[in-house]
Amino acid sequence: MFYREAGQFKTTYAADMAVFPILQDKIGIAVIVAAAVLLPFLGAAGIVSPQTQNFLLQVVAIPFLIFSLASIGLNLLTGYTGLLSLGTAGFMGVGAYACYKLTTYFPGVNIIVWVLASGFFAAGIGVVFGLPSLRIKGFYLAVATLAAQFFLQWCFIRIPWLYNENASGAIEVPQRTLLGVPVTGPTATAETRYFVVLAIVAGLTWIASNLVHGRIGRSWMAVRDMDIAAELMGIKLFDTKLLAFAVSSFYCGVAGALLVFLWYGGAEPEVFSINQSFLILFMVIIGGLGSLVGSYFGAALIYILPIVLRLLPESLGIPIGGATIEHLTFMIVGALIIFFLIVEPHGLARLWQIGKQKLRTWPFPY
C-alpha cells in the first residue's frame, strides 16, 4: 500500500539505472543513514545511559560495520565472481599488519590514510594467491586459498618484524590523532572511532555498489554464471578474476586494519585464524551470495543476534545462569541458520527481495 512504484515514471535511462530507482527505497536508505549518524548522540540526548551508549557503539555497531565490510569484500569475490575463498582472515591480517608497519615507520601520516593504504597491500597479496584461479575453481580453489590462510597466519606468528619484535607476539595500537582528536589508541572515544568506521564502511559500500552495477560488475557476474560464454564475448577471464581478487582483498584488508586499530586496539595472530575466515564466509552465505545488502544482513544475523540473545533473559528478568545462556545462544543461532537456509537457500537478501515484492502488491496481491 505504501511501498509501490505506481505513478513513478522514469523518463531517462539514468533514472531507470539508479541503484535505488524507487522513491520509497531512497527514503529508506536516507532514514538508515540518518539513524547511523545519530546513533552516538543517543547518550548525549539522554535517551540511553552512557554505559549503554558505549556498549551500543563498542560492542555492537563498530564490529558490525567492520564485519559487514569484510563480508562485502568476500561477497565481491565469492558472490559476484563465483570464486570460493577461505583466505579472508589472512587478507584481513595483511591489512592489519601493513597498517601497523606503516604507522610505525611514518607516525606523522594520518592513520586513516594508512588504513586505506593497507588495503592495497592486501590487494597485492590477494592477487598473488588469486593466480591459481585461472586454472581451478570451486572446492579446489577454496583449497588453494586455504594455503594463503595458513601461510599468512604463519607469517604473522613467525616473522617478528611484522609485530616490531614485541615480546608478547601481539601488536598494540599506538595513539594517533585526526585534527587533534585521538582516533586510535586507549584514549580514543567510542564515538570518534564509530564515526571513522562508519565513514569508511559507507564510502566503500558506495564504491562497491557502483562497481557491481557497471561494466566491471557485469563482467564478474558473467564469469560466475558462464565463463566460456564470457570469454567468447571478449571478457578476459584472467584479468577479470584477478581484479575481483584485488578488490575483494582490498576490502578485507581495510576491514582487518579497522578491526585492529578501531575496535580491538591490539591483536594477536589468532584473530586472523581460519575460524575468522569461516565466520565471514557464513555471513556471506546466510546474507546472500551476490548481494551487498545481504552482507549487512549476514553480519547482523551472525554477529548481533548472539549478543541480543545473551542479553534477552536478563532484560526480561528470567533467571538463567551465564553458562546456560551461552549454550542456548549457540543452539538458537544454529537453529535459526538452518531455518533461514531451508526457508530461502539464497540467503536473507532474497528473503528481503521477496518481502519487498509482496509489499508492493499488498494488500491486493492480484
Binding site: 539505472m17 562497481l211 561494466r215 554464471d225 570469454e231
Partner: protein
Amino acid sequence: MRAPGSNAGVAAGDVLLAVENVSLRFGGVKAITDVSFDIRKGEIRAIIGPNGAGKTSMLNVINGFYHPQEGRITFKGRTRSRMRPYVAASQGIARTFQNVALFKGMTTLDNIMAGRTLKMKRGFFWQMLRHGPALAEEIEHRRQVEEIIDFLEIEHIRKVPVGRLPYGLQKRVELGRALAMEPELLLLDEPMAGMNLEEKEDMCRFILDVNNQFGTTIALIEHDMGVVMDLSDRVVVLEYGRKIADGVPDEVKRDQKVIDAYLGVAH
C-alpha cells in the same frame, strides 16, 4: 544501431572468412579432417550434417575456442592459427550456443549489456564513481541495448533474471547478447533446437532481419532442413568430420552423397 562491419575493408560478396584444410584431433579422435570452405560477406551460410559430424567443433575452431592441428583460418584478410576467444570476439565474431549459455543470475538487460563489454572503454576509476564519463557511457550503451530489445520484441522481460525465462525466450535473449557485440560474423549453433513451430518462425524472421537490416554475415548450424533450405544462401555439409558437399541449397538437396549421409546406404 550502427550497421556492423561498415568500417571493414571487406565488400559484400567478398570472402569474409576462409577455412583452409583444417584438421582437428582430440588425442586419437579426429573431429575434423581437412575441411575447407569460405563464408562471403553478407550471406547466410548453413553448416549441416548428421550428429557428430563436427559442426559445433567447426564453430569452436572459428571463434578460437579450439586450436586446429593443421590448416589456416583467414578472417577479414588476416590469417591466424592460434588465437584466444576474446581476440576473436574483438575482431567481430559473435556466437550463440547449442545449449543456451546465458548468464543465469543476471537480468535480460544485464545479459545484453554484458555483450557490449568490449565497446565500453571507461576504466576502473570512473567505474568506481559511476558518475561523469562512466555514467554517460553506460547510458549511451543502454540506449543501444534498448534498440536490440526493441528489435527482438523482449521489452516485457527486460528486468527478469534470464534463469526464469522459458527456453524460447532464452534463445532470443542469447541472440540479443550476440547482436550487442555488433558482430561482423555471427555464429548460430542450432538457434531453433527445441522450439515449437511458432517460435521457430519468429527466430527465422529475426535471423533474416539481422541479415537484411544490419548486413551481418551469419553462419548457422541447424537440423531443421526446411529452415536451412529456406534461410541459407549456401550450405556446406559435413559427415564424420569431412566435407561431403558445398553449394546452394537446391544443389545440395540433390547431391547423392548428402542423401546417403542422411538416409544411410545399403552396403
